[in-house]
Symmetry: C2
Subunit: 311 residues, 2 copies
Amino acid sequence: MGRASSGTDLGAYLARRPPRVEAALDALVPREGVFPGIVHNAMRYSVFAGGKRLRPLLVIASAEAVGGAVEPVMPTACAVELIHTYSLIHDDLPSMDNSAIRRGRPTCHVVFGEAVAVLAGDALHALAFELLAQTPAPVSSVTVVRVILEIAQSIGTAGMVGGQVLDLLGERRPNLPTIPSWPREAGAAVHDIHVRKTAALIRACVRAGAMLSGASPEALEALSRYGQRTGLAFQIIDDVLDEVGEAARLGKEVQRDAIAAKLTYPAVHGVAESRAIAAALTGEAVQALDPLGERGRLLAELAQWLLHRDA
Amino acid sequence: MGRASSGTDLGAYLARRPPRVEAALDALVPREGVFPGIVHNAMRYSVFAGGKRLRPLLVIASAEAVGGAVEPVMPTACAVELIHTYSLIHDDLPSMDNSAIRRGRPTCHVVFGEAVAVLAGDALHALAFELLAQTPAPVSSVTVVRVILEIAQSIGTAGMVGGQVLDLLGERRPNLPTIPSWPREAGAAVHDIHVRKTAALIRACVRAGAMLSGASPEALEALSRYGQRTGLAFQIIDDVLDEVGEAARLGKEVQRDAIAAKLTYPAVHGVAESRAIAAALTGEAVQALDPLGERGRLLAELAQWLLHRDA
């Protein structure tokens, strides 16, 4: 994704943390040798497709920003990646976005068939909660339950799934009922889609890392604001890259949003204005970290890196 | 479903408990008026399709069998019904069992389209864990986490989803890879499918009700055995009814298993032998309740009722 040279704190961090996430995921997602092998094969195919591991990184970086350790938050870090992966598998289905390529490879349903893809997604969804419930000491069960609630809410109809529903309706497909009275104008509508579809889970990741690490109410509030803005900016840049990016670098088909007439930031505001909005949100995200002082620096760098990425 | 006349304890129980489950589900699943309405509409369409509420009843009856109250287990009772409903919505999809009718009505994807059906299932799955995490006092958080783990494991690849994968592969569809070396013979294979597909979650329901009510290790062990055998017998009778039942009474298309050449108990053992196996399992289930004494009587009646049902 570029820009995070190894000379910076972030560069060193990105060299160190993602391999630990990979190793944990490798240990936690059953192998093909475990019966029934085909579904585990499909799950691993999609989990180990070269994702950025952004959500696990945010769980871990948030924990560390409030003085927490990596080990106790690792099951949660893996769980949110499994949730993200399940959502991609289902979003790519023929009845949804109908995407044949993701991260430069055929999508799950292309390789394993639609039925196994639906079930692999469902299995990752359940496995995520299995991992969350296996959060180790010293985290208290009270906190584990709170984190499970937080994450479950962020991926339901008030969050990720709700955003995907609105995204589909924004396409106004002929075979889908339209919303009788779209409650807001296009700008507000696309904001609402993105907040639900992407920002809700990213905010929950940041909050979960902090909650599991015993963050103070002030730190948690600061990190919530950071997570929400970073998540929204992340999705806006995603839309911009879909609009202007090269297929080879992104590893997926581009301009699919435009072709599907999706309600995106570039569609509503144009590319330049969308970039400006994402930059403003990133500024707000960084500012929100003020109460954390020096400890917030890595998260600030991470937000800037996400803003300037080219893939 | 017949046979449980209102003169019996079970009859009185079935007149009293299901309405409480209905009221709780009605309060907990968002209405169409909550934005985005279409997905809530689809969720409610499938949740309120006239199901037997067997899984919630087992959670509650198990809690009461160890002296527990109804109120603290109600979120769990609703959660397992949402999980069951999500699994039906996904199983009915064109890429899976391709069922157009369930409980006498068009299936979710027929009414709302495939995309909304996939998402309604995903939303119910997430909402289930949201409810589990909202289990009220006096249940301790330690117990809530254990129950979440138990239920998540029972619906993953070692349980429900794994069973559905094997069920699909048992069909040996041309477009699905076959298992290179099916590890057991047909009799063992169909047993394995049913244990995962149905018995795992039913066992988890019974265990959850008991765990949330502070059951002793002995009572929990007894109820685990009861749940596993009752769950397996339930699925065998389901297969038998699919083979011999009338479409009108079952509210769904019959002989679909035979047409799809599914690996079922009647297909492997014949109808009479399948009924005998289910009866033997029910006998074991009832016997397993011995340590509970008089308190186990209702669960015993429930198992007998499930064995002799005709729909």
